[in-house]
Amino acid sequence: MARVKLTDVTKEYGDVTAVNNMNLDLKDGEFITLVGPSGCGKSTTLETVAGLTKPTSGTIEIGDREVTNLPPKDRGIAMVFQNIALFPHMDVYDNISFGLRLRDFPQEEMDERVDEAARVVQLQGMLDRMPSEMSGGQRQRVAIARAIVREPEVFLMDEPLANLDAKLRVNMRTELQRLHKQLDTTIIYVTHNQAEAMTMSDRISVLNKGELQQIAPPLVCYNEPANRFVAGFIGSPSMNFARATINDGQLDTDDYSVDFDATVVEELEDGDDVEMGVRPEDLYLADNREEAHDPSQPLGVETDVLEPMGDQIFVYLKPVGESGSGMGDVEERQGLLMSVDPDTDIVEEQSIEVVIDRARIHLFDMQTGDALSHGVVREAATAEADDGEAEAGDDGAQVS
């Protein structure tokens, strides 16, 4: 168990900056997820912590030691790899004990620790099997056992579930959380899957193009995204975005207008453009407007395609020609996605009225993408303009 601290870590490959000025401060025993699209620098960040890659500049501390220039074996870390990376010519026992044998552990203690690790991941009685004789999930357990047998201070996991099938992935997700509770070790977990990040972590750090976008508990990332990228990346299906112009207490998009309280974002004036974001679940049918915290005036729309998911229905909305609340040019419109209860009486090509929960409308700066406000009415506004980017990273870290 140890805290992990990255200070100004930058990694450049020639002209390409894979990681740019990364600052992370992990509490002891925290489960933190690095999440982002391919090539965002999350794996590179993990490799610098592991010692497989040396950062171009910046320092890395594990516990109270600076480890920036130490080889992986002296860092007190263990790693689980995306491709599992078991040694195919060794049986399970040899795979798990490989690190211990290199350190010349006495046979007796080695047996004890291997047995214990195998018990934790429920692999008892399989120690003499070869990796090729095991299923994907079992191999993943061996890889985890190989990591925990060394009793590391920090676990590093590089997309460990990416190669498992969907059902197994969900199971292993739960098991990893259980394991974290049991071992109480700091875990850094890399994934491109936002669902894994949401469900497993104490805090999520969202990366894009080598830069940290936000580090915060999952629900904070979801409800108060620091910028447009986080808003679009976290949450499935993705947030609806529309370009809006401020016009006398109104947010005018091409298709509709929403009243808002201009005082929530003081620096904006009439005529300024903002990016407006609404999650599908913050749109309601006008009949159910009381479910919204602060419903907007009704907007007339027409349903396009329905996607019944079982527990909810995703409804694609399109404007109804010239009618209703200022629907504009059909060619230019942004589609709008709404989720409704599965028992809602709704069909395709139906004219309906919807309301937007104004307490859940996010405004982002057109240029920088930084969040300006979460909620466009005074009492519900939760974040101020300058709370963007790296500052948001301190949301939970301050506790330590």
């Binding site: 592991a50 010692g51 790899f81 990376a85 490989f98 690190g99 290199l102 190989r146 060394r150």
Partner: protein
């Protein structure tokens, strides 16, 4: 087309007369994969069967006779193992067997180790990998006749390059070819030069199929570079090693081409006389057909002994 016939034949068979049963079977047989694929496999199969296995069979038959010279054909009435007895009692057969064995072991071992070493070096990311790979593989592309001839020149006792080089260190000159103590070593060295590139390419392919995370996993577990290769990587090169070894060993057994090109005659220096050269000499210089055939059979058995572990390995892997 044939389906209705099938049904008819089938229903008649249910009717139960023996002729119908026989007809059904014939129809079934004519439509089986075996019959329908016959034109495709029979020709190559018979050519290979006749050329290779027929040749082996005929050779074995000759070795059981006392056939020699050109005057009359072999006498098949009196078959015995006389030639094999003669071979076992012939000290020359033992000498050449010993040379064959030394060539086989030393050449194969050193070539593999050198090839593995080169492959690891290249795999560790020396720049211009492709060019270097080509440079090492190039000797393989040269004809034996060419390499044998220029190694002969390089080994020349008076003005060969090898003696010039060792002369720089105050050694020699050595009679690399003339000295029976040295000649086998000289030949093996030349062969290693020609074949280590091949071994390297085989190992390099094996190394490159091992994913990076094997190296990373070993590194995180605390293995040094040497231990990573020794305990994690090289054990995974088993199938590359087996295929390289089999090719090299079989070549060592039939190194006749190289030796014949080098010395330009059937009688090669005693130090480097191997079973293959002895066999050709007995047959084509002395016309002892039956005796040469017996030596050929012994050579074949040795080659089979070399391949047997490979076949066993393949069988165990389920690919045979």
């Amino acid at each position: 087309m044939s389906n209705p016939q099938d049904t008819v034949a089938g229903s008649q068979a249910v009717g139960g007369t023996e002729t119908d049963d026989w007809r059904t079977r014939l129809v079934e047989f004519s439509k089986s994969d075996f019959v329908r694929s016959f034109p495709f496999w029979f020709v190559p199969f018979s050519i290979m069967g006749l050329g290779v296995y027929g040749g082996i069979g005929y050779n074995t038959l000759i070795s059981l006779t006392d056939y020699e010279g050109f005057n009359e054909g072999p006498d098949y009435t009196n078959l015995d193992l006389g030639m094999y007895v003669q071979a076992v009692n012939d000290p020359w057969v033992w000498t050449t067997s010993k040379n064959t064995f030394v060539l086989l072991i030393v050449f194969t071992t050193i070539t593999m180790l050198l090839g593995l070493f080169l492959a690891i070096m290249l795999d560790r990311g020396i720049r211009y990998r492709e060019k270097i790979q080509t440079i090492y593989l190039l000797p393989m592309a040269l004809s034996f006749v060419v390499t044998a001839q220029f190694w002969l020149w390089m080994y020349n006792v008076n003005n060969g390059l090898v003696n010039t080089v060792v002369g720089l260190f105050g050694l020699g000159p050595y009679n690399w070819i003339g000295d029976p103590q040295l000649v086998l070593g000289s030949v093996i060295f030349a062969l290693i030069w020609q074949f280590s590139g091949y071994a390297m390419v085989v190992f390099l392919a094996g190394l490159q199929s091992i994913p990076d995370d094997q190296f990373e996993a070993a590194k995180v577990d605390g293995a040094s570079v040497f231990k990573t290769y020794w305990r994690v990587i090289i054990p995974q090169l088993k199938s590359s090693s087996v295929s390289a070894a089999v090719v090299l060993m079989i070549f060592a057994l039939k190194a006749f081409t190289f030796l014949f090109s080098m010395f330009g005659q059937y009688r090669v220096p005693k130090g480097t006389d191997i079973l293959a050269t002895l066999m050709v000499r007995e047959a084509f210089k002395l016309q002892n057909w039956a005796y040469a055939a017996a030596i050929a059979t012994i050579l074949l058995l040795m080659a089979l002994a070399v391949i047997a572990p490979y076949l066993h390995y393949q069988h165990k892997q389920g690919s045979l």
